[in-house]
Amino acid sequence: MQGDKRTSYLFVLPAILVLLVLTTFPIVYTFYLSFFKVIPSSFAQKSFPFAGLQNYITVLSDIDFWQSILHTLYMVFFAVTIECGIGLGLALVFTREFRVKKWVIPILIIPTLIVPIAAGYTFKLFFTLNYGILSYLSNVLTGQTIPWLMNGSYATWAIIITDVWEWSPFMFMMLLAGTTGIPNEIVEAAQLDGAGSRMMFTNVILPMLRPVILVALLVRSIDASKLFDIIYMLTGGGPGNSTLTLTFYIFNQNFVYFNQGYGAAASLVMLIVIMLATNVFIRAGAWFPGKRSAR
């Protein structure tokens, strides 16, 4: 028995080592760096000058940092909510069988396969005032010239639209997997009991999809909070700082400004924010109406 136990530890040891190297070490090293002043001139010195808590104080007192959090929350909330709505709607449509279903599904997921930076560049052209297709369509629909990339509010929605276009198929795929897993017997039983489509959706399908929806929302929210490529291509965080998200803020600090001690501190604050938000999200998910565990 002892031998078996030792052997099993040996088998998982490589995976643990990889995990330690790839995740734990970077976090620990980032934590270490966050207490030092690390700018280009620091690299010519014997050791990085000690900064104590100064980096954290500067981060927490930087209005751009807090604004970037607000921008991130705003974009994540609207983008993920819309993606979930579109994904769920498509999933419900595609639970039915129809002739060209297996041809349409691959086409629908193409946006997710496109490299985000390419999607960002493409939509930058789409939003161009004079010859962008989305500018043209929005002008036709609203009767006004919408300054998509020239105004902070519109630029935020330009990013959200691009993100929704790219990642709705991901939600669709996850939710489609969930809907196809709902047993037919339950649906038929509900129908026999006289449930209409609305009641079917709210009392049968939605509760049964709850775990899948929660996972999909969580995964997408974490992913969306790291949004970078699309912002880099579309706005560069502008106009001004109006589309500056937390990831972009940290990228600027670390790689553009090369203020890496400060960037490390901001990264750790971001990690704590995401962990707290995830915790809140999971707890809030417990209140999602639906199946509860049997007592």
């Binding site: 700018i39 001139s41 500067t58």
Partner: protein, 579 residues
């Protein structure tokens, strides 16, 4: 004898759907294979016959020069470099970090001749313009030693130096070509590039030379000569504004002309009916570019970035506010989306015939004089001018000891200048070889081809680059049909501009100062914030950066640069075009 067992062929019915599926797949495979075979068998494009071909034929006649004797002739320095390299480094290679795609184009054009002479291949890693500093710092701080030569805008070298990433060049200059910065005309570096920027060319920084100029890079104004000389347009302008139409000298004239040239589709322009909207100007006000356009106005109004004694930011004082307000005022006459314009968008608007003027780097002059780039109405119709400035009495005069102030002279060409330089990585494993390549590619003969590569980004920086006959011959060999007379005017303006423009904010973290400025200029232009608040935010950010780096550190460098910012331009910088 029994017959061999005959395999029973099983007849299998194939459905029509499956048949169509397999047939369709087969067609696609054949089409893809055919396309691949076609492109694979296309002959490689014929290399453009360039000035370098001519230079190489001469370069192969080797001239031996001792270090104490200054060789003569356009090929002399290239010969010295090739002699010294010989075949001693065969088997090694040179890796360069440069701006994509320009450095890849121009170095890729000339480096085969280096390789054939020395056996040393040259590879250029191209990085987006505004990512060059980040990439270089990443390599420097990691001490990767991957790059031998690091290309950069000169303002960034102080970060590289501070990180210990650049090798001092003076020992190599002394060893291989001591007269590098003492050669005068006709082949030496121009006075504007020789002794202005600390650590670059002949001007030392902390006792060392770290960089050699590879690109003059001033901003000038391009305008539609045909429109500006159209009699009807000239008469209409004079009638409305009360003075003759000509390339603007002041910001107020610039404003008048932008308003005058603003036409809608269907309006008349020089007697022709417009099919698209037309604008007075095409300017770069998008992210990463807005700060440069702003600095044109800021320096023009006599603004200086900091107080030289205290390093207090002065960006939010009256000159800064005037500059930003003027920039916002002019935007009324520009395309509605000008706040998103990068270099390509602004260049395309002008090249496409939709703008009467355009301010940009000198490389636009090469590109716009190619029929492949400029539309028919623009090609051959480009005029060149210094940037406008502030009118008399409207700019701040700062007295600097040792300079003769000439108040009342209009401020001209106070835009930004960003000379690109070549530096050597202190982690390079082939330092002598790297220097010899720098010496070779920046030599008069080879640099003629590099500077006049139509796809390259390098602007003139040696006397010979400003010789219109040599220059247009070099361009013509590159396939660019630049009229020598027009090119002479272009070179005159480049010469004058290089002497009078102000450099980027060239301090440690200079790029960060400018990025913070860029963000707030973008906020003001988009209306997110008002001009004064935006500039106050810039000042606050700049204070933070200065405190992070060290006030005394920044002050010592800034005080050396300060004369380059003051207005009017000191006399020593107004060197007359010599050709």
């Amino acid at each position: 004898m029994s017959k061999p067992d005959e395999k029973k062929v099983e007849e299998k019915n194939i459905s029509r759907r499956n048949y169509l599926k397999y047939a369709g797949a087969g067609v696609v495979v054949v089409a893809v294979a055919g396309a691949g075979a076609y492109y694979a068998t296309q002959p490689a494009p014929t290399p453009i016959q360039t000035q370098t071909q001519t230079a190489t034929q001469v370069v192969t006649s080797v001239v031996t020069a001792s270090p104490t004797q200054s060789p003569t002739g356009i090929n002399a320095i290239a010969n010295v470099a090739l002699n010294a390299a010989g075949q001693n480094y065969s088997g090694t290679s040179i890796k360069i970090l440069g701006e994509a795609p320009f450095w890849q184009s121009l170095i890729g054009k000339v480096s085969p001749f280096w390789t054939s002479s020395t056996g040393v291949p040259v590879a250029v890693d191209g990085v987006a313009t505004f990512a060059m500093r980040d990439k270089a710092l990443t390599e420097i701080t990691a001490h990767s030693g991957y790059y031998d030569i690091i290309g950069s805008w000169y303002a960034n070298i102080y970060d590289f130096i501070a990180a210990g990433g650049l090798e001092p060049l003076e020992p190599y200059i002394q060893k291989y070509y001591p007269n590098l910065f003492t050669d005068g005309p006709p082949y030496g570096f121009t006075p504007m590039q020789l002794n202005r920027y600390p650590g670059v060319n002949a001007k030392t920084y902390n006792g060392h030379i770290y960089a050699i100029v590879s690109d003059g890079d001033p901003w000038i104004m391009y305008y539609r000569k045909d429109l500006y000389t159209d009699p009807a347009e000239m008469a209409a302008f004079n009638s409305k504004y009360g003075y003759a139409l000509a390339a603007p000298q002041t910001f107020d004239q610039w404003r008048d002309q932008l308003e005058f040239w603003r036409r809608k589709s269907g309006d008349k322009l020089a007697g022709k009916t417009l099919t698209k909207d037309f604008y007075g100007g095409a300017y770069m006000e998008g992210r990463y570019f807005a700060n440069m356009t702003y600095l044109t106005f800021f320096f023009g109004y006599g603004g200086v970035p900091f107080d030289p004694d205290t390093m207090t930011p002065l960006i939010n004082q009256q000159e800064g506010l005037k500059a930003l307000n003027k920039m916002i005022e002019l935007n009324k006459f520009l395309p509605a989306d000008v706040s998103t314009y990068d270099y390509t968008a602004a260049n395309n608007l002008f090249a496409g015939g939709q703008a009467a003027s355009f301010i940009s780097w000198g490389i636009s002059g090469k590109a716009l004089n190619s029929p492949a780039v400029a539309s028919p109405e623009v090609y051959g119709n480009i005029g060149y001018s210094l940037l406008p400035g502030a009118k008399q009495g409207d700019y701040t005069i700062r007295n600097v000891q040792g300079f003769t102030q000439t108040p009342g002279v209009n401020q001209r060409a106070r835009g930004p200048i960003h000379p690109a330089v070549m530096t050597m990585s202190s982690d390079s494993k082939n330092k002598d070889l790297a220097f010899l390549f720098m010496l070779w590619v920046l030599s008069p003969s080879i640099s003629m081809s590099a500077v006049f590569d139509p796809s390259g980004s390098w602007d003139p920086y040696r006397y010979c680059h400003f010789d219109a006959n040599l220059a247009s011959a070099a361009l013509k060999e590159g396939g660019n049909l630049f009229d020598p007379a027009a090119y002479k005017k272009y070179l005159e303006v480049q010469w004058a501009s290089q002497g009078t423009v102000s450099p980027d904010i060239a301090l440690q973290q200079g790029a960060v100062y400018q990025d913070k400025l860029d963000i707030q200029i973008g906020a003001a232009i988009s209306g997110t914030t008002d001009a004064q608040t935006a500039l106050n935010n810039v000042a606050k950010d700049w204070e933070t950066i200065t405190n992070t780096v060290g006030r005394d550190t920044q002050k010592s460098l800034y005080q050396v640069l300060y004369p380059l910012y003051v207005s009017p331009v000191p006399d020593e910088y107004r060197v007359v075009y010599p050709f």
